[in-house]
């Protein structure tokens, strides 16, 4: 009983600032000036906007995969006992998060531009310069850079919690390193991996500034499209319909991921 009461402030907070706004978004996706309409959803079916949605999912997916591939080995190294610089490396992973991600993205926009620091360094070493920005790969880079810590931390957390005796038992029973990894460590770390995937995929799917600042505004993502409907076009029905679609995509992802029953097993951030 007491425990329930402690949750009350958050329940009130969540209903005012989460539930009510979501309901209002759903309302506006169906009603334009008080009249019921499906116009917003019809517009979503326009091939151009479907293309924007596919672009968003594709870029978020690739960013998540790259994060995972980079983060897993790092988390493994960090969680191993012999690692002495653990604290420093963890700090380095978290440090950028002390600064607002918008500022960091602006900074990359200048560092990586054609006449930026990175290219000047390349050319001063006699190497050919490269165009880093103004394309889709730049958006992926921005996402990976911004959301990498959200992948490392949950995996690291789970790996640390694995009982070392289980791993030793595996070796005692004759398994080599690869088999131990495949049969013991990887399955036990899945909750962390899944949390990491969700924590990276969701913000990568909804981002809107990275595409503008690093992608040169040529690739319009879902987030950009929604922002535009409210701040420029004033088409609330379409903007709300897009937001509802976005929420559905995220819900599907969550349902799919939680099927792998991970959330209650201490994936770290949840």
């Amino acid at each position: 009983m007491d425990k329930k009461r402690l949750a009350l402030p958050y329940v009130i907070w969540a209903s005012i600032f989460v539930v009510v706004p979501v309901l209002i978004i759903v309302y506006y996706s169906f009603f334009d000036k008080g009249i019921f309409t499906l116009q917003g959803y019809k517009q979503v079916l326009n091939p151009r906007y479907l293309g924007n949605i596919m672009d968003s999912i594709g870029i978020a997916f690739i960013s998540t995969v790259i994060c995972l591939v980079l983060a897993y080995p790092l988390a493994m190294i960090l969680s191993s006992k012999e690692m002495s610089a653990k604290g420093i490396i963890l700090l380095l992973v978290i440090l950028p998060m002390w600064m607002n991600s918008l500022l960091r993205t602006y900074a990359w926009g200048y560092l990586l531009q054609d006449t930026g620091v990175v290219n000047s360094l390349l050319s001063s070493m006699g190497l050919p310069t490269m165009q880093f920005l103004y394309k889709k790969s730049a958006i992926v880079f921005g996402n990976v850079y911004n959301f990498f810590p959200f992948m490392v931390l949950p995996i690291y957390n789970v790996l640390c919690k694995i009982d070392k005796n289980v791993i030793e038992a595996s070796y005692d029973l004759g398994a080599d390193k690869f088999t131990t990894f495949k049969r013991i460590i990887l399955p036990l770390s899945m909750p962390g991996v899944i949390t990491g995937i969700v924590m990276v995929f969701m913000p990568a799917l909804t981002t809107f500034l990275v595409s503008r600042l690093l992608g040169g505004g040529k690739t319009t993502l879902l987030g950009d499209l929604i922002e535009q409907q409210f701040n420029k076009t004033g088409d609330w029905a379409f903007g709300s319909a897009l937001s509802v679609i976005l929420m559905i995509i995220i819900l599907i992802t969550l349902v799919f991921m939680s099927k792998k029953d991970s959330f209650d097993k201490g994936g770290g951030l949840f």
């Binding site: 008080g34 006449t115 040169g216 505004g217 690739t219």
Partner: protein
Amino acid sequence: MRKLSRLFLGMALAGTMAITLTGCGNNDDKPVVKVFNWGDYIDPEVNKIFEEETGIRVIYSEFGTNEEMFQKLEPGNVSYDIAIPSDYMIEKMINNDMLEPIDVTKLTNYPKIDERFKNLPYDPNNQYSIPYMWGTVGIIYNTTMVEEPVDSWNALWDERYAGKIFVYDSEREGIMAALKKLGYSMNTRDPKELEEAKQELIKQAPLVLSYVGDEGKGKMISGEAALMMAWAGDAMVMTEENPDLAFALPKEGTNFFVDAIVVPKGAENLENAYKYIDFLCRPDIAAKNAEYIGYSTPISEARALLPEEIRNSEVAYPSEEETDKMEMFTDPSDVIKLYSSIWMEAKSSASQ
């Protein structure tokens, strides 16, 4: 129903903002004036001087686009005493009955505003708005990359500068350049002319390095691109930072705009709003602002107080003869969705 949900939305979206605002207003009995202006569009010292002289505290917020400002001023959202939108947006707000009439006889400095900026089509009798700044739109270019002087919108379609062109990510300005290049009015509603403009923008897309927002200014200064569309006021600041940059007004004509001070309906501190408007129109204050932000003041007496290189600059102060050839935007409400879809199509053709 709509009103009610608006109210809720207003509460939810601007919740924190409203709390801070009313919170600020209540923690002492000092009179206040709530001002809503473009980002980076005032000399911060001006507000301090106003507070010292009148004892009225200025609660100051900024917006990034006219449309954003419009959404935030809709009934049920936050209330302001002063806002400073652009011409066509003022027309839209008048049409939507969102503005309080202004009694110019209460403004001692109103007669100092030049006649050519009064009674413009967006507000024929200056019933609702007092001119704050004005300017033009042109092309800023880097003379180390562009050899011949630029004098036409065609420069933004020139294949020699492929991959060296920045386009402002704003449908109004983007489509305006295409329409002017074709020799049409920037306010056309003719579907055929707009279709032609769309084809022009699709032709332009492969040449574009990036569709930029405010970061474009810094990137032009650092020499990242050769050409970009720019407002004259921004061009003043940019050419000062990088002397290789030059500004040109295209011969096909361009946009002439006025940003003006309005009082939104529901303003709570009307009297203070009048004091603030009158203060902004005082020549020494107007000059201070004009010098700081780089845009052009509509008050001759203020212009006379500016440093010579600004006062006599052809970029900041083109002759009346030239501005007469330019066009002002009108309220786009009825074509805004068409504009959006044209712009989206043009931009997405660049992503392949």
